[in-house]
Symmetry: C2
Subunit: 145 residues, 2 copies
Amino acid sequence: MPRLLRGNHTAAGNADLTARFAEWQRLGFDPTQCPVRDVLDRIGDKWTTLILIVLATKPCRFSEVQRMVPDISKRMLTQTLRDLERDGMITRHVYPTKPPSVEYALSPLGQSILVPLAGLVAWAESCHAGIKRARERFDAAGQKK
Amino acid sequence: MPRLLRGNHTAAGNADLTARFAEWQRLGFDPTQCPVRDVLDRIGDKWTTLILIVLATKPCRFSEVQRMVPDISKRMLTQTLRDLERDGMITRHVYPTKPPSVEYALSPLGQSILVPLAGLVAWAESCHAGIKRARERFDAAGQKK
DNA sequence: CCGAATCCTTTTCGATACTG
DNA sequence: CAGTATCGAAAAGGATTCGG
């Protein structure tokens, strides 16, 4: 197991999660009540995480973000930025120039999610090769059916 | 800021992410190449995380998992379990009884993702109230338009 | 009991055209 | 420049039925 993932957290992570599970179960996993559902639904969408990381490099204007994330459509960029603003993760400042320019930046809340996000990114990068190997094995075994 | 989120990781999380961003950008964010896309696409779906946490409490049979996660359909349970097995996150053992029983359990890889996941869960729980307040403020401000 | 197969609804996302 | 509005394709997800 990679160095980053060992240590005293291995057991703690498990214990924490299983302890809270009963509580979520009691609430019926209601997405409007369950923080985990709520947060995962957002960072699980196609662009949110990427935009957060872009804004982590520096505050950006609308079209700057679009240049940094080549494939995003204007529609999705607008929508994702507004959702992030609504959740208090980013700030939006309009400079009354002509034509107008708008700058987006991470709020303290947005900054703070980068920490657990970085943990997940580290896990993804260190385990991705293993996942791909597992997939190949699985698919190869399936062929023999 | 909650205790769990302070400390020497606050800056490191940011630096790590921005450093890697350039590399992902160079690869065109290809989902088949980018570990982060690949991992987030999975844990971002509706059931994967929940099932991982269920199996973290103990190995379970198919119908046990279904009982623990009330709203999941058989179709999605089957599919999510197979995807997790394919990625090497869980193991599947068939006991040749009659009728057959099948037991699912976390693999070491599946265990290891619980660590970064627990970090995200902790963040979600400690920040969810703030997010909800931000939403109310945003929506209230929007009314005045 | 475990799951495959089918059908259908909902959600998400992209393309395009238009506005202040 | 920074969006909005509308449309349609595609994917995800749910309900139901069937089979080993």
